[in-house]
């Protein structure tokens, strides 16, 4: 078993609110997993449990470590960017590099400096003098210079403009990711990560609503654009979701034969966003 993360009966509650309700999941090495769910679904709790930042019940092992007891060892192999604002504001860029280089055995100063040389960040600057986008660039430069086995990103591009967001994921893919590494990412901007993910995990109300590889998703789910006269026939096949565009109906199906769907109308591959909306129906109702 070469699972990077292995969870069985993972539970966490805050008072009477259940954040994670006996969740089981595995994350294999070399995957890029999108952990996607509505606000309050338990995404951040799951990530915090993986990173040893919260207590939990049940069984969880990350790279063979128990995150509750072995956080310091675990962090030699795991990196995370929680969201934009967590670098301390008083820290200078030079000090950040010196500190991480000193405490992290797998940090490469050269890689970090090379990455920073493509930005406008000067070494004498303090974090509070940097723009939001530059803070993320700095954090990314520090993290990408660490040869970690697991990278956890929790809303890494929150509040950034589209230029920074694009370059963030591009650098991540071209300069960082390889088959030895695993990435878990949560974000609300599903469209932006969709094309880089290898696996998808939907989480809703503290439970895993869907866990599949992107290939499986493409096989299972199909979207059909149907003219009004065939809509009843389509509804008979029990679609997950129905929406209307330009007088036509678009149905989303799970596990229905392609041939039968093709008779109804034009077939499409559903976007993760549409799949998400269909799966999460009724979340806030």
């Amino acid at each position: 078993m070469n699972a990077v993360v292995h969870a069985r009966g993972l539970r966490k509650h805050y008072g009477r609110t259940v954040a994670l309700d006996s969740v089981d999941f595995e994350i294999e090495a070399g995957r890029i997993v999108g952990l996607i769910g509505p606000n309050g679904a338990g995404k951040t709790t799951a990530l915090k449990a993986i990173l040893g930042l919260t207590g939990f019940d049940g069984e969880l092992s990350v790279l063979g470590f128990d995150p509750r007891r072995q956080r310091a060892q675990l962090m030699e192999q795991v990196c995370f960017i929680a969201d934009v604002a967590v670098l301390p504001r008083w820290l200078r860029v030079r000090e950040a590099i010196e500190f991480v280089a000193g405490v992290h055995p797998r940090f490469s100063r050269e890689k970090c400096l090379a990455f920073l040389s493509h930005t406008k960040i000067a070494h004498g600057m303090r974090v509070r003098e940097l723009s939001k986008g530059m803070i993320v660039q700095l954090h990314l430069a520090l993290v990408m210079a660490i040869d970690a086995r697991l990278l956890v990103l929790d809303e890494p591009t929150l509040g950034l403009d589209i230029l920074y967001r694009k370059s963030f994921y591009e650098s991540l893919l071209s300069d960082y990711f390889d088959e030895q590494k695993t990435i878990i990412v949560t974000t609300h901007q599903v469209e932006e990560v969709e094309h880089i993910l290898t696996d998808l995990m939907f989480i809703q109300g503290g439970r895993i609503a869907l866990a599949a590889t992107m290939d499986e998703v493409a096989e299972r789910y199909a979207e059909v654009m149907v003219n009004p006269d065939r809509a009843e026939a389509a509804r008979a096949l029990k679609p997950l979701n129905e929406r209307h565009v330009f007088g036509k109906s678009i149905f989303l199906f799970d596990g229905v034969e392609r041939a039968r769907l093709a008779e109804l109308g034009e077939l499409h591959k559903p976007s993760v966003a549409d799949l998400f909306v269909a799966t999460m129906k009724g979340t806030y109702a």
Partner: protein, 321 residues
Amino acid sequence: MNKLALLLKREYWEHRGGFFWAPVWTCVTILVVTVFGILTAEVVGRRNSVHFGFSLDKLKSSLDANDMIQAGNALDMVQLMFGAVTCIVLFFVLFFYLLGALYDDRRDRSVLFWKSLPVSDSSTVLSKALAAMLFAPLLSFVVATAAYLVFLLLVTLWTAAHGVNALPAIAAAHPVGMFWRLLLTIPVDALWALPTVGWLLFWSAFARSKPFLWAVVLPLLAVFLNFWFGALGLPNFDNLVAIKDVAARLLLSVMPGGWLGDDSWRAMQVRFDDEDVMRSFDPARVYALLGTANLWIGAAVGAALVAAATWMRGRRIEVNT
């Protein structure tokens, strides 16, 4: 590089203002006041063409050996004063440093960055305790010593301008002896400070908001309730242990030299002797404090509180969860 040294450096980066600049500005202020004093003496002296206080010209003619001993002791006293004044500033710096040490990064969420690095909670807490107990006091002491050297230089130049050689007086003082004696008080200060270090770090790691209220109001409330119970004739602690002394140990022990007022230590000692500052800070006398129960009970309680703060640090991460 040694991890602990780097963690201490981190504390220095964050608290350069309190650890370094606060003693520097304190000493600069004392030196500026000294210079103003000298200038005032010059101006007033010239205007009235009389000399006041100890007349430098008179000094030149009539200095005997006894006067030299007194002058030397006065200089030792000044050296002590530089240390003492920076220590008063250090007390406030350390108090608020410790209250914020495990709280501020949780409030601004940068704790998530620190926790993303392979540094254990025990090393983090240890580095903060050591920064308060040894690193900041040493730095402050170095600054005070440098300031004293500048002071000696100023006095030498001033007296030289009047044809008086200050070097015999400086030779009668004990700058090196005082340096070692004051330096050797720092480990004693550190042990003495441990209960306050632990107490403040614990509430810093515990509080979801306003660690100051927890750390300060709680002991004051205990003192007040004890007093009130006593006033009502209800059972209270005054017979067992003076609760206000306990509160003082928990809150005020980061004051360097706070043990100078400790009764059990004083009982073993002669009083502070301003005729002979060197003798007052004889290591044999200072280290007699290690023979008091007060020191060791406090140190044990402090160590337990530091351990509790470490435990808390692993559990309370963000302030709102």
